[in-house]
């Protein structure tokens, strides 16, 4: 048996073996070492038991409860279809004010007050 083969498996190697990922050459050590084999089999048994644990689900309506607390940044496009326009973003400042949308009720003048005709 080579020196490497004679070395006991490390905890990481035992985990790899239990998960079926230990290189075959290294796994040969288990055929020669009863102590490592016992530890490895105990570890594998525990893994198999833990992995069977179920994933619990929150109650129905969980998504809605979360969504009630989430602030969604409204896009410019979305804001124009939002029924009350309360979350419409401030338009980028520019020399000319933004034109009101066709569906929005707005008091924004079409031209600046000091515009000359």
């Amino acid at each position: 048996m080579s020196e490497h083969m004679a070395q006991h498996l490390t905890p990481d190697e035992i985990e790899l073996w239990a998960l079926g990922l230990l290189p075959a050459a290294r796994a040969l050590h288990l055929a020669e070492c009863a102590a490592c084999l016992t530890t490895a089999e105990r570890e594998r048994k525990l893994f198999r038991e833990i992995v069977q644990l179920e994933r619990f689900a929150p109650s129905a309506g969980f998504v809605e409860q979360v969504m009630a607390g989430v602030r969604i940044a409204t896009t410019v496009k979305d804001s124009m279809t939002h029924k009350d326009f309360t979350t419409a973003p401030t338009p980028t400042p520019s020399f000319f004010p933004a034109l009101p949308s066709r569906t929005a009720t707005s008091t924004v003048p079409l031209l600046p007050e000091n515009a000359t005709s």
Binding site: D12, L46, P58, A73, D78
Partner: protein
């Protein structure tokens, strides 16, 4: 306690919302396109303001996040509150998420911190799976207890599976909170040691030590049951 998410969170910036991505993924009228999208793409869509993308993120992570929290605090109602808090924190902070890190790492990190804070507030290290310790009536205690189902096999196998599951859950509940989150993230959720190290802000060696010790303790607790 203030916790840092520096590695996950980008510095704040003034980002104007844009409709540049409309019609790609995450459009409100095309939620089915989200199912195959990567977390990063769904997050990007949510940042652009698509509600369906927010819902998709909740759907993807509600069970794993809730399961972790349920196993950490062993009280269904409390776990739901904490899960809700986790999602709201994460979803309201999406603009600061750094896509070079896994979204799952970020959300589990927030969930774990929320759970640890709660456990510290309550001042208990280990928790009962028989219901909330502060429940005032037997009904309230039963309602908050960990609910275990059988595996749908023969009645005898179902009973045995339920008993084993119950014993494992009980043993996990007796671990220190740090060991508990590590063992659940590793063996129930299947994360790598590196990911867990990132999620819990712990050195890799510490994570390995915690998990090895946790497994030794679990084996001991389960062998006591079998003896």
């Amino acid at each position: 306690m203030l916790r840092t998410y520096d590695r996950f969170v980008a510095p704040p910036r003034d980002t104007a919302t844009s409709n540049a991505g409309d019609g790609v993924i995450g459009a409100k009228d095309r939620p089915s396109n989200l199912t195959g999208a990567s977390d990063q793409d769904v997050v990007a869509s949510a940042v652009r303001g698509h509600e369906a993308a927010f819902r998709e993120l909740v759907r993807r992570y509600e069970r794993p996040v809730f399961s972790l929290l349920y196993r950490m605090v062993r009280d269904r109602a409390l776990a739901e509150d904490l899960a809700q808090e986790t999602f709201i924190k994460v979803l309201n902070g999406l603009k600061s998420y750094r896509p070079e890190f896994k979204f799952s790492s970020w959300i589990f990190k927030v969930a774990n911190n929320v759970a640890i804070d709660q456990i510290r507030k309550r001042g208990v290290d280990t928790v009962s799976m028989d219901g909330a310790p502060d429940a005032r009536t037997p009904d309230a205690r039963a309602a908050s207890a960990l609910q275990l189902r059988g595996q749908g096999e023969s009645p005898l196998q179902e009973v045995e599976a339920r008993e084993l599951g119950s014993a494992i859950e009980r043993a996990i509940g007796r671990l220190r909170p740090e060991y508990r989150s590590c063992i659940v993230l590793r063996h129930v959720e299947g994360h790598s040691y590196e990911e867990i190290s990132e999620m819990l802000d712990l050195p890799l060696g510490t994570v390995k030590t915690y998990i090895h010790r946790a497994r030794n303790e679990l084996r001991g607790l389960l062998e006591d049951r079998r003896a």
